[in-house]
Symmetry: C2
Subunit: 233 residues, 2 copies
DNA sequence: TCTCGTAAATGAATGGCATTCATTTAGTGG
DNA sequence: CCACTAAATGAATGCCATTCATTTACGAGA
């Protein structure tokens, strides 16, 4: 474990090569550029500037290092995204599996999963195609969830498909959270689309603060009920 | 229903024909650079080179035009993607609404929707945040589907949320189709994740040709059953 | 104590990208 | 025939990820 948490301040790299006198500075400061350090810097950058601000140059700058230095530790920017993804996977709440009934455990897991990634939707295309081998925390999440399904009485050959179905719904719903409020405004086509326009108005009249939550709850409860019926079959 | 199958494809697309002496002089060739022409060229490019090959430069080249010329017709590359998205929306099969029972109509719509966009996953982040105003064919799809839900007895204020829930599942599942076969290979962590590894093996032993279809079917049937129960409530 | 191998950092390319802009072109309506 | 305007041009601009030859500094072995 090389990484001490922060301890970055002292270094001030970027020494000119000549001037051999004060060589204190250029040395490999323990662990700022290891995976934990890169992940932490990337997360801080994302938080402050969003995913558009997450460039290799900006990441390097936040680590007081030249952009090319990052490539001694990562093969590509995708690796940085993987690191971030795996970090986030550890934030998903799986604690209810083994402690509460299956339905409630799935419910808590799904809401938590959606909430975490709704703030990181640019990662979704990455996750969806990500071999779990490269993401230990993500794999750990799957293990806990799988065990929960098995213990709830799911036939083994249906467990993965059920989880995938839930995950697909969760990823799609994460996008939904970020959609603008007026996404369903049919504008000038309103008269040409009476059923849809009416349905949109009728939903709006309900005055929900977060319409995305209504759809998510509706779909999630349907999935829990439908998938739950597979137990013991 | 405005959902006519194809766009007004009247204009001959940007075939590489004008190679004759008129290198100079961008005379306004009638309609090659209108929305239909741009859409057709973009689709052809995507088909041949994938979304990585869809650059403004390549698109312009396939239309025998300078890249900057595109900006007389579109504000940004995003507009090109919107055009493509809306074209694809017209390919989604909504014909069963009004002709078959609600369950079967939803089933056909959902499979078709997923199949179309599983070949165009880079559009998903665009669609998910796309105001429908800018996409008439997409809006037409929503109108048909909404009418189908209304006629099936759904309370008006639940229609949009139900569609959104289904769509979220569809988008997530579209990614799933593109995932590599070995995505769940837990590699060196296999012994540390017995439940998950066992579940993966057990699914693999079933020998499904398209595992993504199993998960999609499972989730879709659960959603149809769960959402269907809202009718008349 | 010296020397050398190596891991890690440097900065200067490279090539690709979307987008902008001043300018030019060619049809069209008066 | 002229003026207006829509549309095309190509030469920037600025940003980006990534590569590479070179340099630096530490530590292991002599």
């Amino acid at each position: 474990m090389p990484a001490s948490p922060a301890a970055p301040g002292s270094t001030a790299l970027g020494e000119p090569r000549s001037d051999a006198g004060r060589r204190r500075a250029g040395r490999p400061v323990g662990g700022v550029l290891d995976k934990a350090g890169i992940t932490a810097a990337a997360l801080k950058l994302i938080e402050k500037k969003g995913y558009d601000g997450l460039t290799m140059a900006a990441l390097a700058r936040s680590l007081n290092v030249a952009p090319s230095a990052l490539y001694n530790h990562m093969e590509s920017k995708r690796d940085v995204l993987l690191l971030v993804e795996d970090h986030l996977a550890a934030l998903v709440d799986v604690s209810a599996f083994g402690a509460e009934p299956w339905e409630e455990a799935v419910r808590k897991w799904a809401w938590s999963y959606r909430d975490v990634f709704s703030r990181h939707t640019p990662l979704i295309p990455v996750i969806a195609v990500l071999p779990v081998t490269d993401a230990p925390q993500t794999l750990a999440m799957y293990e806990t969830v799988s065990a929960g399904f098995r213990d709830a009485g799911f036939p083994e050959e249906r467990i993965v498909s059920s989880i995938v179905a839930l995950e697909s719904f969760i990823f799609g719903s994460a996008y939904d959270v970020t959609a603008p409020a007026d996404i369903f405004d049919s504008g000038s086509m309103a008269e040409a689309t009476p059923s849809f326009t009416g349905a949109v108005r009728s939903l709006a009249a309900q005055g929900h603060e977060r319409p995305a939550d209504v759809a998510f709850s509706l779909g999630l409860e349907a999935l829990i009920a439908g998938l739950g019926a597979l137990r013991g079959a």
